[in-house]
């Protein structure tokens, strides 16, 4: 470390937020890979999903990463709110004429989409993660109690088939995530100083693609159960 006094500057906050954000971006892919097994894509998809859920719930490396994941979510959200409040107060008096500057359309809504995702995460934890931790009583459906991740398949199918409101909120949350990622993906690279004439256009393209494909992958799951019953 440098001998200068460590201060939590705007750049320290932004860089920390970008690192946490990139970790969450990678986690989304892992989570989607497991979630897609809920759909009948192979004959033994249910067993594969249960095995994956069991692995994620018991493997000690994954459990260690669970702590990192929770920290990443909280740090990313907290720093996002702190930076946003500073940004709102930095203007002072607002302009009479709305800005006509050319900017990324999605970037204007990043805090709102972030808040929506965070609120959805609360609901998601209530339905799955808190049940696993034993903090919330699992629903009893068709005489099956859902005490552990072994029954997450039944729980997911039950929720997507019977709780229309949750499915709608789920879809809205992932549309918000898509809008959020559309700006956030390339923004994280820029914040980390990774801007290069040769590579930045590719990073931006991958970011746009990722912000469409990943949310779409998640949205297909409730849609399937809403349509197929």
């Amino acid at each position: 470390m440098s001998n200068q006094e460590f201060t939590f500057t705007s750049l320290t906050k932004k860089i920390t937020m970008a690192i946490a954000g990139l970790f969450l971006i990678m986690f989304l892919l892992v989570h989607l890979g497991i979630n897609l097994l809920i759909l009948p894509i192979t004959e033994n998809h249910k067993e594969m999903f249960t095995a994956a859920a069991h692995f994620m719930g018991t493997n000690w490396i994954v459990k260690a990463f669970e702590v990192v994941l929770m920290a990443a979510i909280l740090i990313h959200a907290l720093l996002g709110v702190i930076l946003q409040i500073q940004n709102w107060t930095a203007r002072g008096q607002a302009y009479k004429v709305k800005s006509k500057s050319t900017t990324s359309f999605m970037s204007k809504y990043i805090i709102y989409t972030g808040v929506m995702i965070f609120l959805f995460l609360g609901l998601h934890f209530y339905h799955f993660y808190f049940i696993k931790l034993g903090l919330v009583q699992a629903p009893v459906v068709a005489n099956i109690a859902f005490p552990q991740e072994e029954h997450f398949y039944e729980l997911a199918v039950y929720i997507f088939t019977n709780q229309l409101l949750y499915s709608v909120l789920y879809i809205v949350a992932f549309i918000s995530l898509g809008i959020h990622l559309n700006h956030a993906f390339q923004s994280a690279f820029q914040t980390l100083g990774l801007n290069h004439k040769k590579y930045t256009p590719t990073i931006k393209f991958i970011g746009k693609l990722y912000s469409i494909i990943i949310p779409l992958g998640y949205i297909i799951i409730p849609l399937y159960f809403m349509v197929m019953g």
């Binding site: 500057t9 940004n87 930095a90 203007r91 002072g92 923004s187 100083g193």
Partner: protein, 246 residues
């Protein structure tokens, strides 16, 4: 051409300002934007009114004095053009032009359209200089600098410090300005010696002055009259990260 102007009038830093409407009937398309304001001021002075205070100096786009937020854009509608280089041919006959001062908490309004941009000078005073003894003029081959680096340093140094980046940014962030100044030194050998201390000091000062944080919307780059690239912000972030980690 005939135009209607809606201009922010504010007696002093403490007074509450308001928009005042003015009509100008004989505006030539050949007039510069500031000449049009000069014409309005002459009219106001003749009629015993208070002329509109606005900042200007070189009127050739190099001093960074002129500002003005014109119809929702710093320096008006033309790309890579300062207010003083803007001409009335960029506006339609009969149009209404709204002129506001650059808005940022760190740029308080002093009078009418003049804002206090001393914050930029304070950031420069915090580290935007080379204090090592660079000696007298060197032999051209004694300090080898890549052409790419000297070009980039020169491009960064073309920042005139007008504050359009702050005015355009939805967060009133000064990061494009600070990053351009950090870059112009960091890319050259004489500047590299104090690069770590410089970037930390300038970022700290920028934060202290209450500028907002960059959210990479790139409005600053779009509105910069000198075309300063956001690649400078990435370089500043790298320089900062390197200063903190080593």
């Amino acid at each position: 051409m005939k135009i209607t102007l809606k201009i922010w009038r504010q007696k002093n830093a403490k007074a509450k300002g308001k928009f005042v409407d003015y009509e100008l009937n004989e505006v030539s398309t050949e007039m510069s934007f500031l000449e049009m304001l000069d014409a309005l001021n002459e009219k106001l002075i003749i009629s015993g009114g208070e002329p509109i205070a606005f900042e200007h100096d070189c009127r050739e786009g190099i001093c960074g004095c002129c500002s003005l937020y014109i119809n929702g854009q710093p320096h008006g509608p033309e790309e890579k053009t300062t207010t003083c280089e803007l001409h009335m041919r960029s506006f339609k006959d009969g149009s209404t032009i709204t002129i506001e001062p650059f808005r940022a908490k760190a740029f308080p309004v002093m009078k009418d359209l003049i804002v206090d941009r001393n914050g930029f000078d304070k950031i420069m005073a915090a580290g935007g200089f080379v204090s090592i003894d660079a000696g007298s003029a060197q032999d051209s081959n004694s300090i080898l600098i890549k052409k790419k680096n000297s070009d980039e340093a020169f491009n960064s140094a073309t920042c005139i410090g007008c504050g359009a980046c702050v005015a355009a940014c939805k967060n009133a962030s000064a990061m494009l300005f600070v990053s351009a100044k950090v870059s112009q030194f960091a890319l050259l050998e004489q500047g590299k010696v104090e690069a770590k201390e410089r970037v930390v000091a300038m970022v700290n000062k920028m934060d202290d002055l209450g500028f907002g944080n960059c959210t990479n919307t790139y409005a600053c780059e779009a509105e910069c009259p000198k075309g300063i690239s956001v690649a400078n912000i990435a370089r500043m972030n790298r320089e900062f990260l390197s200063a903190k980690l080593t």
